[in-house]
Amino acid sequence: MSLNLLLKELKRYLKGTIMISLSVAFYIGFSLSMYSIMQENMSKIYDLYSTIPESLRVAFNFHLNQWNRILGFYATYFVYYIPIMAGCYSIILGSKLLSKEEQNKTAEFLLSRPVSREQIVSSKLLTFLIHVLGINLFAFLVALISCGLVTDWDFNMVILIVLHTYGFLMCFLFGIVGFFITVLMRRAKAIAGIGIGIVLGTYFFDMMIRISNRFQFLLYLTPFKYVDIDVLSEDYGFDAWRLMFFLGTSGILIVLSYVFYKKKDILI
């Protein structure tokens, strides 16, 4: 790892990370502050809710029977804020780390300094980890405080921790996917469009699985299936298989990134 490179990279993407953290936090805070208003008008909401077709409710994870508990309510929105919104930012950030050096041709500067390819990958990945961890921690704190304020601290904090851990692992995985894709590209470039496509596409697969049994095979193509948002189930907690999926997939992609980047011709 090169501390010099790490510090520069941390600073380089700081603005974007602060922006996305504030946006995500704003949405979380806003949604949770709506909770008490919704509780007061539950009967009206129920009327509205019953007009939405069943399949659509399932597709978008709207389970009204969960909405009388704050975490059940929050879990519905959580998917959009962390795995999708922060996930899109993560995959784009992951794809920028190496590709920006190639696209802006600064790779020639960087690689002619005494720094190994491994050190470059390590510093870039650590930059990514710190940024994504920062976004997720901030989002978690805002969710925690909002839930606390709304319910007078009458909720299970462990559930919130588990939920946000899944969210973080999802962002991390998306970022690693973005990073790995640019390692494979002959002339790397940031994959903003493709990145967002991957996040929304895999979310769409998840929807399909929920709608119909016929799409069960998509299970293997979407990490959303491994984010447990069924927060009100009795045995909600960390699940070894789900954790292994995230850590295993990310781990394999990280190792492959080191292996391929070490041998990659930098064409600029």
Binding site: N4, K105, E108, F109, S112, P114, V115, K263, D265
Partner: protein, 299 residues
């Protein structure tokens, strides 16, 4: 131990040719010119030295370190000036120099002020706002700040004005006197002549000649143009070494390889009003080698 030693170094980009079977050695302390037209493989060679690219076959060593395995160790000892300079646009000149120096763990004070003064640089400006020439100055400073044992220069003078070029050459000579080896890639013959001890000529990815600068000069062509006096009849040029004569009214232009004194002696017998002898451009220099190729093919 050689500063640079390559054996059969070859690089293909897929099927496209990069360089083919380059073998040469550069002694420590030498200034080695690497000359060839654009696209001949000069930058590919340099990028292999810096492990931006990896060879298709063959080996390369810099101070006995392998260019594939020992990249970081090599780069600790190397200063590099690229042909086109690309830096992080949001940084100021000072930030960039400090950033670069930290990779080498050298105290900046060592040479910083002297170099910045020599090149007359405004440190507070953003890289983005610098002209191409000023960016190049930054590149030169970055290459020298850690006192490298080997300087790799890829067309280093493009963008530098003549005054700064001279200052740059003075610094290079000074560095060389202190023992720094210099690998100088260029397509400008006069630069290489001014500075280098030895020269390799690269054409279409292959080294076609490698020699001391003095023997190479003997092989080089000059572009000679003579204007005849008004009313003079056409002249016949018989001096050996004259090739590809072009005539245009009372002007006559040709390439000449050989002793200039001999040519002048012959020309002095003729009704000549004006004569210019210029360095040929690189393409013309290569004609000599093309002709060699053709001759071999004819045989």
């Amino acid at each position: 131990m050689y500063a640079i030693e390559t054996k059969g170094l070859t690089k293909y980009y897929g099927k496209a040719r990069g360089i083919i079977d380059l073998s040469f050695r550069i002694e420590e302390g030498e200034i080695f010119g690497f000359i060839g037209p654009n696209g001949s493989g000069k930058t590919t060679t340099i990028r292999l030295f810096l492990s931006l690219l990896f060879p298709t076959s063959g080996t390369g060593k810099i101070f006995d370190y392998d260019i594939v395995k020992d990249g970081p160790k090599i780069k600790k000892m190397v200063g590099f000036v690229p042909s086109e300079v690309h830096y992080y646009e949001n940084m100021t000149v000072k930030e960039l120099i400090e950033y670069s120096a930290r990779f080498y763990n050298v105290p900046l004070e060592l040479r910083f002020n002297r170099l910045v003064d020599a090149f007359d640089l405004d440190l507070t400006r953003k890289i983005d706002d610098l002209s191409m020439g000023n960016k190049k100055k930054v590149a030169v400073i970055l290459s020298l700040i850690h006192q490298p044992r080997l300087l790799i220069l890829d067309e280093p003078t493009t963008g530098l004005d003549p005054l700064i070029q001279n200052r740059f050459f003075d610094i290079l000579k000074e560095e060389n006197e202190k023992g720094t080896t210099i690998f100088f890639s260029s397509h400008v013959l006069s630069e290489v002549e001014k500075l280098c001890h030895k020269v390799a000529i690269i054409k279409e990815g292959k080294i076609i000649d490698e020699d001391d600068i003095d023997s190479l000069k003997g092989k080089l062509l000059s572009r000679v143009t003579v204007r005849l006096k008004y009313g003079a009849k056409d002249i016949t040029l018989k001096t050996p070494g004259i090739i590809s004569i072009e005539r245009n009214k009372n002007e006559c232009s040709f390439l000449y390889q050989g002793e200039i004194a001999v040519l002048l002696r012959d020309l002095s017998q003729m009704p000549i009003e004006k004569i210019t002898i210029a360095e040929p451009d690189l393409e013309e220099v290569f004609m000599h080698y093309y002709q060699d190729d053709n001759r071999k093919e004819d045989e």
